[in-house]
Symmetry: C2
Subunit: 114 residues, 2 copies
DNA sequence: TTGTAGAACATCGCTACCCGAGGTACCTTG
DNA sequence: CAAGGTACCTCGGGTAGCGATGTTCTACAA
């Protein structure tokens, strides 16, 4: 029963998807690289079993587009993902939702533990 | 396919539990009242089908304790929930986790959409 | 040449939990 | 007594994160 890990696992739900879009909004990325990047961020530890299905979902919904490209440093080819205009719109909408949600949670937590 | 509602539904996961603890940290509450209070908060719309199982879980884990009390304005008896010391500790720990998680998401979203 | 290691992709089954729908009991009011 | 609001609860479905596992490709060492 690893408490903190489980708590974060639930917190990531819904947000992780848009964090990936946020990273892709800056530059193209391939899946394995995203796993490592997210793993380095506080509270965003993920594995491939999470990210690959997530990326498939994003592509299926047209929020990202992918292109295969050879690795520049050996190894198997990489699948690069780029955000689409639909993805940009989704990210924009989520950012607004997130702001409201975040403020609500902050208010409840801070007023609850004075 | 109601987009915003689904997004929020996922976001609430994990956080809702501690928002309830946060509300209970201020004063005792009964379930139905919590449903109405949360419904009035931005991004926290919930139903009884969400809240009652959640309260049962909290009690099972010893983070809240309940006492039946008669209604002071007619109607069926109410089950009042109070936060326990274990609940306070859990809330405290989560608040720290939440702070880190929130900042990480904020950073990614803001840097992604300049 | 073989084999070992790492990079990079993918899928499967498990689990947690949010949610709508439905159900029961209590009390007041007409 | 019937109707409606209050307040409790349960069930089934769906979604998404996660560990385990598998596959392919390249580089490099023995």
């Amino acid at each position: 029963m690893v408490v903190a890990a489980d708590v974060l696992s639930q917190l990531r739900r819904g947000a992780l998807e848009y964090c990936v879009l946020g990273l892709l909004a800056r530059e193209e990325r391939y899946g394995f690289d995203l796993v490592r990047s997210l793993g380095a961020l506080d509270g965003m530890v993920t594995g491939e079993g999470t990210l690959y299905p997530l990326l498939s979902r994003l592509q299926k919904d047209g929020r990202v587009a992918s292109t295969w490209r050879e690795s520049d440093s050996g190894g198997p080819p990489r699948k690069y993902y780029a955000i689409t205009s639909k993805g940009h719109r989704a990210l924009h909408d989520f950012t607004a939702e997130w702001g409201r949600f975040r403020d609500t949670v902050d208010t409840i937590l801070l007023e609850g533990t004075p």
